[in-house]
C-alpha cells in the first residue's frame, strides 16, 4: 500500500521520437544555472510524493492529485551545489538526496536532462571536480558517514558485489521469513532520512537502480574516487579475514547434531 505514492510520480517522458511535449530547453549544464526541464526530478516533485505516500498507510486511500507537481515545477529551485550545501547544513537529507540526483542528471549533459535519467556511459562526462564537490559536501555534513566515496569503499569491501553492498548500506532489508532473504527497501518511506547511530554507513545518497546497477557502478568507479582505492582493498582484505573468522566459529558451534554426526560416506 505504501507504494501508492509511487504512482503519483510523473513519468519521465523521454521519448524523443514522440512528439509529446516537453520543451527541452538547451540550457548548458552548469551547476548553478536553473533548468526548466520538464522531466527533471526536482525537490518539489518529490515532495508531493512524500505527502501522498504518507497518507496512505491505512486502507485504500486515493492518491492525492499530482497537480502540485506540475504546478510547482516552475517555481522549484534549480539544483545546485549551493542548494545541496544548504539542505545538508539544515540536516534535510531527504531533500539533499533529491538535489544530488538532480545534480547528477544535470551534470551528465543535455540528453540526460531531457531523458530524466543518466545512462551509464554518460557518467564519464561528469567532471571529477564536480563529483568530488558533491561527495565532499555529503561527507562534511555526515561526519564522513555518507557520500559516494564512502560507498565506493564499502562496495570494494563487498568485492564489488552489489547485493552485499546493498545489504551493507541498508538499501535492502532482511525479511522476516524462515529462510534468510532480503528485499529492496521501499522508497522513500523505508529509507533512513536522519542520521542516527544505527543509520548504516554509506546509506546516502541513493542512486536509482531501477535501471540496473551500471549507473551506480560507473559513479563509484569514476576517476573522482580513484585514489582511495588501494587502501580500501587492503582494508577489505583485513576485514574479510576477521569477519570470516568469527563467523566460522559461530557456525561451528551452531551446527546441528545430525550434521556433526553425519558420516562422510559419500565422497562424490
Amino acid at each position: 500500500m505504501a507504494n501508492a505514492s509511487l504512482q503519483s510520480f510523473l513519468l519521465p517522458q523521454h521519448h524523443s521520437f514522440a512528439s509529446t511535449g516537453g520543451s527541452h530547453d538547451g540550457s548548458p549544464s552548469a551547476l548553478l544555472k536553473p533548468s526548466t526541464n520538464t522531466f527533471r526530478l526536482h525537490p518539489n516533485t518529490s515532495r508531493s510524493v512524500t505527502t501522498t505516500s504518507t497518507t496512505n498507510s491505512s486502507a485504500p486511500t486515493p492518491v492525492a492529485p499530482a497537480a502540485s507537481a506540475a504546478a510547482e515545477k516552475d517555481s522549484s529551485p534549480a539544483p545546485s551545489l549551493d542548494l545541496l550545501g544548504r539542505q545538508l547544513t539544515a540536516g534535510d537529507y531527504r531533500q539533499a538526496d533529491e538535489t544530488t540526483r538532480a545534480l547528477i542528471i544535470d551534470l551528465a549533459g543535455e540528453s540526460a536532462r531531457r531523458r530524466g535519467y543518466v545512462f551509464f556511459s554518460e557518467v564519464q562526462f561528469i567532471s571529477a571536480e564536480d563529483l568530488r564537490a558533491i561527495d565532499e559536501l555529503w561527507k562534511e555534513h555526515s561526519n564522513g558517514k555518507f557520500g559516494y566515496s564512502v560507498q565506493r569503499r564499502l562496495w570494494e569491501k563487498s568485492q564489488r558485489d552489489f547485493t552485499r553492498f546493498f545489504i551493507r548500506v541498508g538499501w535492502m532489508k532482511k525479511l522476516d521469513t524462515e529462510v534468510e532473504q532480503y528485499n529492496y527497501r521501499a522508497f522513500p518511506d523505508e529509507f533512513m532520512w536522519e542520521m542516527k547511530d544505527d543509520t548504516p554507513e554509506g546509506h546516502l545518497p541513493l542512486t536509482n537502480a531501477l535501471r540496473g546497477t551500471q549507473l551506480l557502478g560507473n559513479i563509484l568507479t569514476h576517476p573522482a574516487f580513484q585514489e582511495e582505492n588501494q587502501e580500501d582493498e587492503a582494508a577489505a582484505a583485513a576485514e574479510s579475514a576477521t569477519t570470516g573468522q568469527t563467523k566460522d566459529d559461530n557456525k561451528g558451534r551452531e551446527r546441528p547434531k545430525f550434521m556433526r554426526d553425519f558420516k562422510p560416506d559419500y565422497s562424490f
Binding site: 500500500m1 513519468l11 523521454h14 509529446t20 547485493t163 535492502m172 531501477l210 535501471r211
Partner: protein, 1366 residues
C-alpha cells in the same frame, strides 16, 4: 537417478507478479530463462519470496486510484479500467493527474484501475463492482482469462446501459461485446456479416493474427471513417481513435483520449468545448534505443547512429564486439515503463556487447525479427544472440501462439534465443498459453513493480546474469571450434562408484566417447583422448574397483578454501546447512576436490550429489537444504577455473536442476541458478521424458537435445514360460484326442511352477474338468503368457550417435501400427487383420482378456502376422548394411513395377490374405515415414549446432509409439500447451480406464464401489497422453472439462448422476512436483472441480466427495469448501517424497519412517480459492482424505518406463500408508492402469509387479541385453532389484518368489555372479546388499543357505574392492 517421470515439461513463461512485502519498490524484473527452443516458451522459475495473500497477484488496485481533491463543482468523470499488465498504470495515473492539474480544466477526473488477476479476490471484485456503480466510463484491455472475463462481463453488463461509454480493446469476444460508444456497439460480434465484425470472427482462432488485423484496422480505418457523415460512423471512428490513443499509451495520448471520450459521451460535458489533439502515432515496429534521437525503421541507419555515439567506449566500438538483438514490447516503450529495458541495454553495453533493440506493437514479433535482425542481402543475422524481454511467445499473444511460424523465424536467425520474463504485473498463466506455458505462481516468481522512476534498485542480479548469459551464448557463435572449452558433466546417483555415469537408457561413457571422437574430427581440441571407451572410464574413475569411500575418482582439481570462497559468491550461504568449507563431501579435509579428467579443451567431470542421501533427517527436512560446498566448488571450477564456454550435462538426469529453489536474498536466485552461473548449458535428455526435461530447461536454463531410448523388443518367453507355450500349442492340436486331460494337467503344474497361480485361478492338479472349462483354464494361461511375451522392453542402452538399425526398429513399428489414428485416416494393423475374419479387434481383445481360447489364439495369430508383415516390409526397405534406404522411393518402385507390396506378399501366406489393400497401403506409408525417423541420427549434429551457437530445432518429447513426431531425436524438447489438456480423446480413454478400474474394484470388493481412490498425477504421463490421468480424476468425481472460445480448458461442469450411473467417487490426488510446476492451472481446475462437486446438493451415498467433505468439515471445524481439499503435492520448489532416496541408499530404519517422510513432504495442498498462495501444508486434511481411500491407483503410460525401471512409482505409492491411516486398518486395493498398448488394462499392483519382474529382472533377454552394456548394465540390474524392494516397503505387494527367482538367476548361478562381480564390483556389492536387506526387512523368506552365500559373497566383494584399493 534415472529416468524420471516426474514431471512436466514445457517451458513456460510466466509473468506474474507478486508483490512481495508491503511495497517493494522497485522491483525487479527480470528473470531470465533461456530457451532456445522456442516452442517452448520460456518460463522461468525464479524463486522468490512472495508472501501470498492468496491471489495470483498481491497488488492492490488502490495504487491505481486517483481522486480529484478540488472538484470546484466541476463535472466529475469517473473512469474504471481493467488491464492485463501494469505498464499502463503509471501512464494513466500521470495522464489523469495532469488533466486534474490543468487550471483550465472543465472536468475533474477520478480513475481507478484493476489488473485482471486482482479480480479473483472476492473483496477486490466487490470493490470493482462498487466502483462501476458510479462510473461514467469503463475501459478493458487484453482480457483473455475466461473465468475472469466472465466476472468482468457480469459486472460491467449491469452498468452498461447507464454508463456513458464502455471501451474494450482486444479481449475475448464475450468482453468485446460490451463495447458501447454512442450508437456503436459490438453486441453482434460473431454474428454480424459486416466486414468489421468478420474481422473478429475470422481470426478468433488465432489471436496473433487477430491483434495484428486489429492494428492494421487502426492504421487504415480512421482515414476512411473521417469522411463518413453518419453518426454511427462517427462513433465507430471514435472507437478506432480510442484504440489508437490507447495503443499510443503515452500520458499525452491518454489525456487526449480521456478528453475525447468525456466531451463526446459524458452528457454534462457535451458542448463544454473540450479540445483534444489527434493521437500521436508511434511506429508499429522499429528499433529503439534510449539514447537515440529517434526510432529507426532501418537497421543501417540505426547502426550508423550507433557508430557516432560519443559516449561509447573502445570496446563497444570494436567491430568484433558481440551483437545482441533484443525484442521488446512497444507498449512498455510508449508508456514509459521501460526501466527494465534500459537496464538490460546498459548492462549489455557495459559488458561490451552492441545492442539492437527492436520492438513491435502487435503480438507477432517474427516479422520484425526478420526485418531488423537479418541482412536482406546475405540472409545472415546481424546478431549473435537474441533476447526477448516481451514475456510472450515470439508469435502470439495471450490467447494462442503460432509456433511453426516462430520456429521458421528463429531458424532463419539461427542464433541462440533467450527469453526473459519481465515481471510486470500480470496475470498469469491462464492467459499465457501453451507453449508458452505458464507457470507457477507460487514460488516461483519474482516480482516487481517497475513502476517508479524512483530511487530504487532493480533486480540487478537478474539483469547482470541475463546479460552475461546472452553474451556467453553469443560467444559460442563467434569463437572457433579449436578454442572452445566444453565441460561434460556426468552423474553418479546414488553416490557410489559403480554409478558414475548414470543416465536413463544411456550408455554414458560409450556415448561420450562417440561424441568426443566426432568433435575431434570436427576440429575441437580433445587432446589425449584414449583409444577406447573402456580406457576412458578407467581414466575418469581412475580405478573402478577401488574402495568406495576414498576419494578415488580421478581428481581433476584441488581447490583450496580461500580460492573457493573468493570465486563462489554464495559460499557463505551454504554454511548454514553444511558448516564451513571444505566440509566432508568432495573434500580431502583441506581442499575441495573436483573429480574428472581433462582432455585438451574438454573436461569430463563427475557431478557431486545432493549430499544428504544417506541421512534420513535430511531427507525429511531437505526442503530448505542447499547444495554442499563440494557441489558449489564443482560448478565454480567449471565456470571460473576451467572457464568452460559451455557445459554439457550428459543424460537424464542429474541433481543440479532439482536443487532447492529457495532464494537467498532477493537478488540471488535459486540454487540451480547460482550454480550454473552464466555458462551456456546443453543437456542430453531422453526423448520420452519431456516433463523433467522442462524442469532442466526452466531451472538450469538448459538447451536440451533429445536422445532415443533403446529400441524395444518383445519380452519373449523363457524357461517354464516357454514350455507352457509349447504345451498350449500341443493342447490346441490334441485337445480333442484322449491326451487333452493329460496335457491340461501338465499345463496346470507348469503354470504353478511359474507362479502363475496368483494371476490365473488354477484348479487343483488331477481335478477332472469338463472340456469347455479346460479350454477356459488353458485360454487364461495362454492369455497371460501372451501378455508377457508381447510386452515391449527397451533392450540394452542407447549410445549417442548410434541409431538403431532398421531391423531393430521392428518391435517399435509393430506397436506404432497397433494404434488407430483416425485423425490421419489410419486404421491399426490388428484392426485390418481382424476385419478379414469378420471380427472387430476390440471384441477380440475383450475375448482374449476373458481367456476365451479361440480369441487368445486369434489374437496371437494377428500379432504374429503383424510382426511378419512389418518385418517383410522393413527387410525390403533396408540395404545390406541394415540401413534404411529411401523408403518413399522404394515404395513407389515396388508399386511401379506392379509387384505386390512386401506386406501383401507376406500376408498371402497367412489366413489374413484378404486384408484391405488400400488401408494397408496408407498404414505402411505412415510406417515408412516413422521408420525413416527412427533411424535418423541427429543427436550428434544437434549438439554441434548448439556448440556453434546455432538454433536447435524444438520438438515435442514423449512416447514415439503414441506420437511419432517425437522423432527424430536431437531436438530441443518441449511439452504441450498445458491448457490444451485433457483433450476429448484423452477424456474418452479415461472413461474406459475408470470404468474398468471401478468394475475391477467392485469385483474384488463384494460389489461395492470404492468411496475414495488415491492416485498420482505425473507430468510426463499427462504430456504423453494429453491428460488422460487428469481426465480420469475428472471422470471419477463425475465432471467434464469445458473448453473456452480459444479451445483452452479452464472450466468444468458436473455430469448428472443419471448420466454417470454411479456415485461420484472421492479422490486424493498426489501431484508430482513436476506436474505441479508445469500444470498449475490444471491443479487449479481440479481443485475447483472437487469443491464444486462437494457443494452439489446430492445424497451422500451418491456423492462420496460430499459425504467425506461433510465429515471432514466437522472433524476439522472448517467449512465444507475448505474440507474439500484433495489436490496435494510437495511444497513449492521441492520434489518427490524422498522415499526413493531413502530406499536407494538403504538409509531408513522402518516403514513408519518412510511413511512420515511421505506425509511430511507430500501434504501440501493447492487451493483454488487462493491460487497465489502456492502450496500450503495441510497435513491433517491429507491424512483424513487418505484414510477414506479404498484403492490406490497409478497409470503406466509407456512401455519403456515400468514399475521397477524407476524409483518414482514406489516413491509416490501410499498403499501401506493408507492402511495405517484407515480406521479399520484394512489395506486398500492397489491398481495400475496400463495404457501402453492398444488394449488398455487395469491390473492389481501385485499383478503388475509380477509382470514387470517376469519381463525384465528375471528375463534372460532383458538381463543379457543389459550385460552387453557392461559396467552400466550391471547397475541397471541392481537398480531393478532395489526398486523391487521399494515396492515391498511401500506396498507389500511383492511376492516372495520374485526375490527367490532373482537370487537363483544372479547369485546361485556361479558364472553369472562372476560376470557381474568383474564387470562392476561396486554395483554387484549393492546387489548383494539389497538381497540381504530384502531378507533383513522381512520381505523375502529364504533358506539359510541362500543367506549364507550372500553374506559370504558380500565379504568377498568387499575384500576385492578394498583389497585392490589398498
Amino acid at each position: 537417478m534415472s529416468s524420471s517421470l516426474v514431471s512436466t515439461p514445457f517451458a513456460a513463461a510466466a509473468q506474474k507478479q507478486l508483490l512481495a512485502a508491503p511495497v517493494p519498490l522497485h522491483s525487479f524484473l527480470l528473470s531470465s530463462r533461456r530457451q532456445p527452443p522456442r516452442r517452448a516458451g520460456a518460463g522461468a522459475i525464479r524463486c522468490a519470496v512472495a508472501g501470498g495473500n492468496g491471489l495470483f497477484t498481491q497488488t492492490k488496485p488502490e495504487v491505481r486510484r486517483v481522486v480529484p481533491t478540488d472538484p470546484r463543482g466541476l463535472p466529475r468523470v469517473k473512469v474504471v479500467y481493467v488491464v492485463l499488465e501494469a505498464q499502463y498504470q503509471s501512464s494513466v495515473t500521470a495522464a489523469v493527474q495532469q488533466l486534474n492539474a490543468d487550471p483550465r480544466r472543465a472536468a475533474a477526473f477520478e480513475v481507478v484501475g484493476y489488473l485482471i488477476e486482482e479480480l479473483r479476490d472476492e473483496d477486490t471484485y466487490a470493490t470493482f463492482c462498487a466502483d462501476l456503480a458510479d462510473a461514467n466510463v469503463f475501459i478493458g484491455s487484453l482480457i483473455f482469462v475466461e473465468e475472469l472475463a466472465l466476472k468482468v462481463k457480469a459486472a460491467v453488463e449491469k452498468e452498461r446501459d447507464r454508463m456513458d461509454a464502455v471501451l474494450v480493446f482486444p479481449s475475448m469476444p464475450e468482453v468485446m461485446r460490451l463495447n458501447k460508444l454512442g450508437s456503436f456497439s459490438m453486441s453482434q460480434l460473431g454474428q454480424s456479416k459486416s466486414p468489421f465484425f468478420q474481422l473478429f470472427k475470422r481470426n478468433k482462432a488465432n489471436s496473433s493474427n487477430f491483434a495484428d488485423s486489429m492494428l492494421k484496422l487502426v492504421r487504415t480505418l480512421p482515414k476512411v471513417l473521417k469522411y463518413l457523415p453518419s453518426d454511427k460512423a462517427q462513433d465507430a471512428r471514435l472507437y478506432i481513435l480510442s484504440l489508437q490513443f490507447w495503443l499510443g499509451g503515452s500520458p499525452d495520448n491518454l489525456q487526449n483520449f480521456l478528453k475525447m471520450i468525456a466531451s463526446s459521451y459524458v452528457p454534462a460535458l457535451r458542448g463544454a468545448g473540450i479540445k483534444y489533439d489527434d493521437p500521436v502515432l508511434y511506429l508499429d515496429s522499429g528499433i529503439w534505443h534510449p539514447l537515440a534521437p529517434t526510432m529507426y525503421e532501418d537497421v543501417k541507419e540505426y547502426l550508423n547512429w550507433y557508430g557516432t555515439r560519443r559516449d561509447a567506449n573502445d570496446r563497444l566500438k570494436d567491430p568484433n564486439a558481440p551483437v545482441i538483438g533484443l525484442v521488446l514490447q512497444r507498449s512498455h516503450i510508449v508508456t514509459g515503463d521501460d526501466g527494465h529495458y534500459v537496464a538490460v541495454i546498459m548492462e549489455l553495453e557495459a559488458r561490451g556487447a552492441k545492442v539492437i533493440p527492436i520492438f513491435a506493437g502487435g503480438l507477432d514479433f517474427s516479422g520484425p525479427t526478420q526485418r531488423y535482425l537479418v541482412d536482406p542481402v546475405t540472409g545472415k543475422s546481424f546478431v549473435n544472440a537474441v533476447v526477448s524481454l516481451t514475456g510472450f511467445a515470439l508469435v502470439g499473444g495471450p490467447a494462442r501462439q503460432d509456433h511453426p511460424k516462430a520456429i521458421a523465424a528463429l531458424q532463419k536467425l539461427d542464433v541462440p534465443y533467450i527469453v526473459a520474463l519481465p515481471l510486470v504485473f500480470q496475470t498469469t498463466e491462464e492467459w499465457l498459453n501453451s507453449t508458452l506455458g505458464l507457470h507457477p505462481i507460487q514460488v516461483a516468481l519474482q516480482v516487481a513493480l517497475p513502476e517508479l522512476d524512483g530511487k530504487s534498485h532493480a533486480l540487478h542480479k537478474r539483469v547482470e546474469q541475463l546479460c552475461t548469459r546472452a553474451i556467453r551464448w553469443a560467444e559460442l557463435k563467434r569463437k572457433t571450434k579449436e578454442e572452445k572449452k566444453l565441460a561434460i558433466t556426468v552423474f553418479s546417483f546414488p553416490p557410489d562408484k559403480g554409478n558414475v555415469g548414470t543416465a536413463a537408457y544411456l550408455n554414458v561413457f560409450n556415448s561420450i566417447y562417440s561424441v568426443l571422437s566426432d568433435l575431434k574430427k570436427d576440429g575441437y581440441n580433445v587432446e589425449g583422448l584414449p583409444d577406447t571407451p573402456e580406457a576412458l572410464i578407467e581414466e575418469v574413475i581412475h580405478d573402478k574397483e577401488a574402495q568406495f569411500n576414498s576419494p578415488n575418482l580421478n581428481v581433476a582439481y584441488r581447490m583450496n578454501v580461500r580460492e573457493y570462497q573468493a570465486l563462489t559468491s554464495y559460499a557463505s550461504l551454504l554454511e548454514e546447512n553444511w558448516g564451513k568449507p571444505p566440509g566432508h563431501l568432495n573434500s580431502d579435509g583441506e581442499n575441495l576436490l573436483v573429480y574428472g579428467k581433462q582432455y585438451g579443451n574438454v573436461f569430463i567431470g563427475v557431478q557431486p550429489t545432493f549430499g544428504y542421501e544417506g541421512d534420513p533427517m535430511r531427507l525429511l527436512f531437505s526442503k530448505s537444504a542447499s547444495p554442499h560446498h563440494g557441489f558449489a566448488a564443482y560448478y565454480t571450477f567449471v565456470e571460473k577455473i576451467f572457464q568452460a564456454d559451455a557445459v554439457l550435462h550428459f543424460g537424464t538426469h542429474g541433481s543440479l536442476e532439482f536443487m532447492p529453489g529457495k532464494q537467498v536474498g532477493m537478488s540471488d536466485a535459486c540454487y540451480p541458478d547460482s550454480l550454473i552461473g552464466n555458462i551456456p548449458n546443453i543437456y542430453y535428455y531422453a526423448a520420452n521424458n519431456p516433463s523433467e526435461a522442462t524442469v532442466a530447461k526452466r531451472r538450469s536454463y538448459a538447451n536440451t537435445i533429445s536422445y532415443l531410448t533403446p529400441p524395444a523388443e518383445n519380452a519373449g518367453l523363457y524357461k517354464g514360460l516357454k514350455q507352457l507355450s509349447e504345451l498350449i500349442s500341443s493342447y490346441q492340436s490334441l485337445k480333442d484326442t484322449g491326451r487333452g486331460t493329460q496335457i491340461v494337467s501338465s499345463i496346470i503344474s507348469t503354470a504353478k511352477q511359474c507362479n502363475l497361480d496368483k494371476d490365473v485361478p488354477l484348479p487343483e492338479e488331477g481335478e477332472e474338468l469338463p472340456p469347455n472349462e479346460r479350454d477356459l483354464v488353458v485360454g487364461k494361461v495362454y492369455a497371460k503368457i501372451m501378455e508377457i511375451e508381447s510386452r515391449l522392453l527397451p533392450c540394452g542402452l542407447h549410445v549417442i550417435g548410434e541409431p538403431p538399425s532398421a531391423i531393430e526398429a521392428v518391435a517399435t513399428l509393430v506397436n506404432i501400427a497397433a494404434l488407430d489414428r483416425p485423425e490421419d485416416g489410419i486404421t491399426s494393423l490388428p484392426g485390418i487383420l481382424a476385419a478379414t475374419v469378420g471380427r472387430e479387434i476390440e471384441d477380440v481383445y475383450r475375448g482374449s482378456d476373458k481367456g476365451i481360447l479361440a480369441d487368445v489364439e486369434l489374437l496371437r495369430q494377428i500379432t504374429e502376422a503383424s510382426r511378419g508383415a512389418i518385418t517383410a516390409f522393413v527387410e525390403k526397405t533396408t540395404n545390406s548394411k541394415g540401413q534404411v534406404v529411401n523408403v518413399a522411393n522404394n515404395l513407389s518402385n515396388i508399386l511401379g513395377f506392379g509387384l505386390s507390396e512386401p506386406w501383401v506378399q507376406y500376408l498371402s501366406t497367412t489366413k489374413f490374405i484378404r486384408a484391405d489393400r488400400e488401408k494397408l497401403r496408407v498404414l505402411f506409408g505412415f510406417l515408412g515415414e516413422c521408420l525413416k525417423l527412427v533411424v535418423q541420427d541427429n543427436e550428434l549434429g544437434s549438439l554441434k549446432l548448439a556448440l556453434e551457437g546455432s538454433y536447435v530445432e524444438p520438438g515435442p518429447g514423449g512416447d514415439p509409439i503414441r506420437n511419432p513426431k517425437v522423432l527424430p531425436t536431437g531436438k530441443n524438447i518441449h511439452a504441450l500447451d498445458p491448457q490444451a489438456i485433457p483433450t476429448t480423446a484423452a477424456m474418452k480413454s479415461a472413461k474406459i480406464v475408470v470404468d474398468r478400474l471401478l468394475e475391477r474394484q467392485k469385483a474384488d470388493n463384494g460389489g461395492k464401489y470404492p468411496e475414495t481412490v488415491a492416485l498420482v498425477l505425473w507430468g510426463t504421463d499427462n504430456i504423453k497422453t494429453y491428460g488422460e490421468s487428469l481426465a480420469q480424476v475428472l471422470w471419477m468425481i463425475g465432471v467434464r472439462p469445458v473448453a473456452d472460445t480459444f479451445g483452452r480448458v479452464n472450466r468444468v461442469e458436473p455430469v448428472s448422476l443419471e448420466e454417470l450411473g454411479r456415485p461420484r467417487i472421492d479422490v486424493v490426488v498426489n501431484c508430482s512436483g513436476v506436474f505441479r510446476d508445469l500444470f498449475i492451472n490444471q491443479m487449479n481446475l481440479l481443485d475447483r472441480a472437487v469443491k464444486m462437486v462437494a457443494e452439489l446438493d446430492e445424497p451422500a451415498e451418491m456423492n462420496y466427495v460430499r459425504k467425506h467433505a461433510q465429515e471432514q468439515a466437522e472433524e476439522l471445524g472448517v467449512s465444507l469448501r475448505e474440507a474439500a481439499t484433495r489436490v496435494f503435492s510437495n511444497a513449492s520448489g521441492s520434489y518427490s517424497s524422498n522415499v526413493n532416496l531413502a530406499v536407494e541408499n538403504a538409509s531408513w530404519t522402518d516403514e513408519k519412517q518412510l511413511q512420515d517422510m511421505y506425509l511430511s513432504r507430500k501434504s501440501f495442498a493447492f487451493d483454488s480459492d487462493a491460487p497465489g498462495a502456492g502450496m500450503k501444508e495441510k497435513r491433517k486434511a491429507f491424512e483424513l482424505a487418505l484414510a477414506t481411500a479404498d484403492a490406490t491407483f497409478q497409470n503406466l503410460d509407456s512401455s519403456e518406463i515400468s514399475l521397477t525401471d524407476v524409483s518414482h512409482y514406489f516413491d509416490s505409492d501410499p498403499t501401506k500408508l493408507v492402511q495405517g491411516l484407515r480406521k479399520d486398518g484394512r489395506a486398500p486395493s492397489s491398481y495400475i492402469a496400463d495404457t501402453t498398448t492398444a488394449n488398455a488394462q487395469v491390473r492389481t499392483l501385485s499383478e503388475t509387479v509380477r509382470l514387470d519382474a517376469r519381463t525384465k529382472l528375471l528375463n534372460p533377454k532383458w538381463y543379457e541385453g543389459m550385460m552387453k552394456s557392461g559396467y552400466e548394465g550391471v547397475r541397471e540390474i541392481e537398480k531393478r532389484l532395489t526398486n523391487t524392494v521399494g515396492w515391498s516397503a511401500t506396498s507389500g505387494q511383492v511376492d516372495n518368489w520374485v526375490y527367490e527367482e532373482a537370487n537363483s538367476t544372479f547369485i546361485e548361478d556361479e558364472a553369472m555372479r562372476k560376470r557381474l562381480m568383474e564387470t562392476n564390483p561396486n554395483s554387484f556389492r549393492k546387489l548383494v546388499q539389497t538381497f540381504l536387506e530384502a531378507s533383513g526387512r522381512g520381505y523375502w523368506e529364504t533358506s539359510e543357505e541362500n543367506l549364507d552365500r550372500l553374506r559370504e559373497l558380500y565379504s568377498e566383494v568387499e575384500d576385492k574392492i578394498e583389497g585392490i584399493d589398498r
